[in-house]
């Protein structure tokens, strides 16, 4: 790194930049005058820039509590957060420009935090949670809490001893009110083998002070906080050896949860310390709190709360169906009935989402168990039945959506006949893939809308009802299956990527339908590479050759479909 050149460049830009030696380290120091005083910015020289060049704020203590500036332990330096996320792409080929850009960002941010006091305070509250995490001990276990946030007692359980990850490795806090929340049963299940870790209170704060910058300042922060906020006298009088105080407060970035733990020094029980004197009998430490409720977790992890009340019947839990239910679960679907008569076998392992400890288990049961343990708020049921066994009007009408992934054109068309004859109103998605990675398809049949499954089966050459879908990329009557062990062991070669890709287009249609964003019968295909197909001498359809609308949602309606004109 040529620092001479960088200094020259910065000086050319009007900065007062010099190369110095601070605490035996080579530094680039920039001195900047502004209306409120002077900023001293120190950059410790590096060999390579792999992020925006970092400057520390010198004489940090003289500025008080600044948002986006954190103390560097043991030095009077502040580390400045100029928004250097991973997504910032830095010009490492022109280091001097990267330095200039970074310097400007530092100066703009620092002058703003110093000069605009109200903004500074708001920012301090906005980043409260991040600042709180900074003073927490990395090695201590997280505190998972199921609570509504009102002032109430909380029962605290220790982590399961020896556990390094998962829920078992964390403290759990459950309040009385939480037992009425849907998540309670899930979190309560985690309770086994835990001992009680002490008493605690959930305390909502109306008057939040910015987070302490160091753990030494925590005591002072605590005393001011309990002085300025309401805590019921019942809690204040309670005596104990260890208290968990779980706070929640509104900040500019939403409701924030955090906490402290108080442990008495020596023996005996005491009530909560209320002044400096009584606090001396206690050791105080900050804790990380993760609130466990769906309003917080589902949107944060990408799920949609609007799908929680929806109920989906998934028919076929093979490679494609398995992927679909995982994705529907992740999207936040609240209720799913999984349906498949098949057993999970060794032949499936490399293209199925299930893990091998389910070998020999019915696929619907296995998936139901997996979904229940993966998604806290999902309700699943299973049916060990085939598609054609589900022909019951009331049953089918009770769902918001039916997804069929069985790869059986005969059964799918028979089932569709039943839907038409009985005026079933539930939307239906049929999805399938083709062999050798050539592609996959999904068809959405919205009852009472133009276009139906049979539109996807109109024989394009004759206009008659076809037996094979006109969406297919491979010609019919080719011997595509591979026979591994005689009759009944034929299978179509495809891999898990094809299954996942197909599940994606089907899930996308499903979510769009359930959210009311897709209002007409539609079809979607993804087109894969044909080299495998060609090298085996198979032929592709005209549609494959012409197709350039992968992943696009297209109208399903075919003007020659007699059912749409019946």
């Amino acid at each position: 790194m040529n620092y001479q050149e960088i200094v020259r460049h910065l000086c050319d830009q009007g900065y007062l930049a010099t190369l110095e030696n601070v605490s035996d380290l080579d530094c680039l120091v920039v001195s900047h005058d502004f209306e409120g005083g002077n900023l001293k910015l120190i950059h410790f020289c590096v060999d390579e820039i792999d992020c925006l060049p970092t400057f520390f704020l010198g004489n940090f203590s003289q500025y008080g509590n600044l948002a986006h500036v954190l103390p560097l332990e043991k030095f009077d330096l502040g580390s400045v957060c100029v928004g250097d996320q991973d997504s910032v792409s830095v010009n490492f080929e022109q280091p001097k420009l990267a330095f200039q850009e970074s310097l400007e960002r530092h100066i703009n941010l620092l002058t703003k935090t110093i000069l605009e006091v109200a903004w500074n305070t708001e920012e301090l509250l906005r980043e409260f949670y991040a600042n709180w995490l900074r003073i927490c001990d990395d090695s201590s276990a997280d505190f998972i809490c199921a609570a509504s946030g009102d002032l109430e007692e909380v029962q605290v359980f220790s982590p399961v001893s020896g556990r390094k990850w998962g829920f078992g490795a964390k403290y759990l806090g459950i309040t009385h009110c939480a037992s009425s929340l849907a998540e309670f049963s899930y979190i309560a299940q985690q309770d086994k083998n835990r001992s009680i870790a002490g008493e605690g209170f959930i305390i909502p704060l109306n008057n939040l002070k910015p987070a302490p910058t160091t753990s030494e300042l925590l005591g002072e922060w605590y005393l001011q906080t309990i002085k300025n906020n309401y805590i019921s006298s019942k809690f204040e009088q309670k005596k104990g050896k260890r208290f968990w105080l779980i706070f929640n407060a509104q900040t500019p970035s939403g409701r924030t949860w955090f906490g402290i733990q108080l442990s008495i020094k020596g023996n005996g029980k005491k009530s909560l310390p209320k002044n400096e004197e009584s606090l001396k009998n206690w050791s105080i430490s900050p804790i990380r709190v993760k609130i466990f409720n769906k309003e917080k977790i589902m949107p944060r992890s990408g799920a949609n709360l609007g799908l929680e009340g929806k109920s989906v019947l998934m028919v076929g839990c093979g490679s494609v169906g398995g992927e679909i239910v995982y994705k529907l679960g992740a999207a936040g679907i609240g209720n799913m009935v999984l349906c498949d008569p098949d057993i999970y076998t060794m032949d499936n392992i490399y293209r199925h989402v299930l893990s091998d400890h389910f070998l020999g288990c019915n696929k619907a049961i296995a998936l139901s168990l997996e979904l229940d343990s993966k998604f806290p708020w999902i309700k699943t049921q299973y049916e060990i039945r085939k598609l054609l066994d589900l022909r019951n009007t009331n049953y089918l009408n009770s769902f918001d959506l039916i997804v069929i992934a069985i790869g059986s054109p005969t059964h799918e068309r028979l089932f569709h006949d039943f839907l038409v004859q009985n005026h079933i109103k539930t939307p239906v998605i049929n999805t399938w893939l083709e062999g050798y990675g050539i592609g996959g398809h999904a068809v959405l049949d919205l009852q009472n809308a133009n276009g139906c499954l049979r539109c996807a089966y109109v024989d394009l050459q004759t206009g008659a009802r076809g037996l094979s879908s006109n969406l297919n990329f491979l010609e019919t009557d080719q011997n595509l299956t591979v026979n591994h062990a005689g009759c009944g062991e034929l299978f179509l070669p495809y891999n898990s990527v094809s299954a996942a890709q197909t599940a994606l287009i089907a899930t996308n249609l499903a979510i769009g339908t359930l959210l009311g964003k897709i209002t007409s019968s539609s079809k979607v295909s993804w087109k894969g590479d044909c080299s495998d197909v060609v090298s085996r001498g198979f032929s592709v359809t005209h549609r494959y050759t012409a197709f350039d609308k992968s992943l696009q949602i297209l109208p399903l309606y075919n003007e020659d479909c007699d059912i749409c004109h019946g």
Binding site: G316, G318, S319, V320, G321, A405, I406, G407, S408, P409, T431, W432, L433, E434, G435, I438, D459, L460, Q461, T462, G463, A464, R465, G466, L467, S468, S469, N470, N472, F473, L474, E475, T476, D477, Q478, N479, L480, F491, L492, Y494, T502, S539, V540, T541, H542, R543, Y544, T545, A546, F547, D548, K549, E559, D560, D562, I563, H565, G566
Partner: protein, 345 residues
Amino acid sequence: MSIQKHFNTFHDAIKLSKQDDAYKTARERDDSITNDVRNAFKDAGYPVIEDFIQGSISTDTAILKKSGDFDIDRAIVIDCDNAPDNCVKPKITLCENVLEKRGFQNAKIKKPCVTADYKSENLHIDFPIYRKNGAEYELAIGKRNADESNRKWEEADPRGLKDWIKDKSSYIGSASDKLSQFNHLVRYLKRWRDEKFSEGVAAKIHSIGITVMAKQCFSPSFDSDGKPDDLIALKTTVSAMLIHGYFTAKANSQYQVSAFLPKKPWRDIFDGSSVNTGTQFRNKLSTLEGKLQDAISETDEIEKCKILREVFGDDFPVPEKSNNSASTRKAIFSSSGAVGTSQGA
């Protein structure tokens, strides 16, 4: 309903194929005569070494004639070593020892073949006679009393011609669908000819001529889903036929038509045809092009069909009510018992 479906209905109405019942009776007659030919030729010292169907039935481009007549082209092949130098001799054998014996009053020796009509069956059979030397065929050319200068064993390639018409190797992707569209187009053009020309002129616009021109000018058309669009394919093919060089302008807006066989003997299919034939052919083909364009531009289904009926005659369907009417549509079921699909999950 899509216009393609109406074309399919039209095609079903005009096509003649080996599987048709009407053709089966004809084929039985033909088989029985061919058997007699084998015996007669054996007795004459030049046994039949092979026989095969040639012509449109063998290339899936045959249509039902409006008159209800059927044509069969039955090639009779004898070995070159046994064949008499006088190529008319076997034709006389066929005519006198077979056809006349069976009571055909109108058996005739024409220049390229012997013909016979089954009046009661509306059946017309042509027998071209070839001699075969290795893989090479030579056709017996000459009328009954032709002298040496008017008769010869002429090089021919009947199987090569058939293969050329059925060839799909140059079609990239969905070759079978494209060949099938080509077959449709040839049938439409033949029906158009029968509909739009007087019997005498129609007879001079030979089917093989239409087939060769259409093959050389064929421009397939499918939508992005792979659904055939015969209307557009026919229009672009006809346009190409008009500018391909088959029609040579003569004085007074007259035209001479010529098209060469793509195989031996490479002769002009329209050799000896009049400017009247060429002019009518050229002008009516040009009118056809215009009408097809009108049909393409027309958006109303019924109006489209009416234009096409004007071109192709009453076998082209015109629906009573258009698409959007509440009329229910009859389901057409697949003609296959089952097909293997690529579908899995």
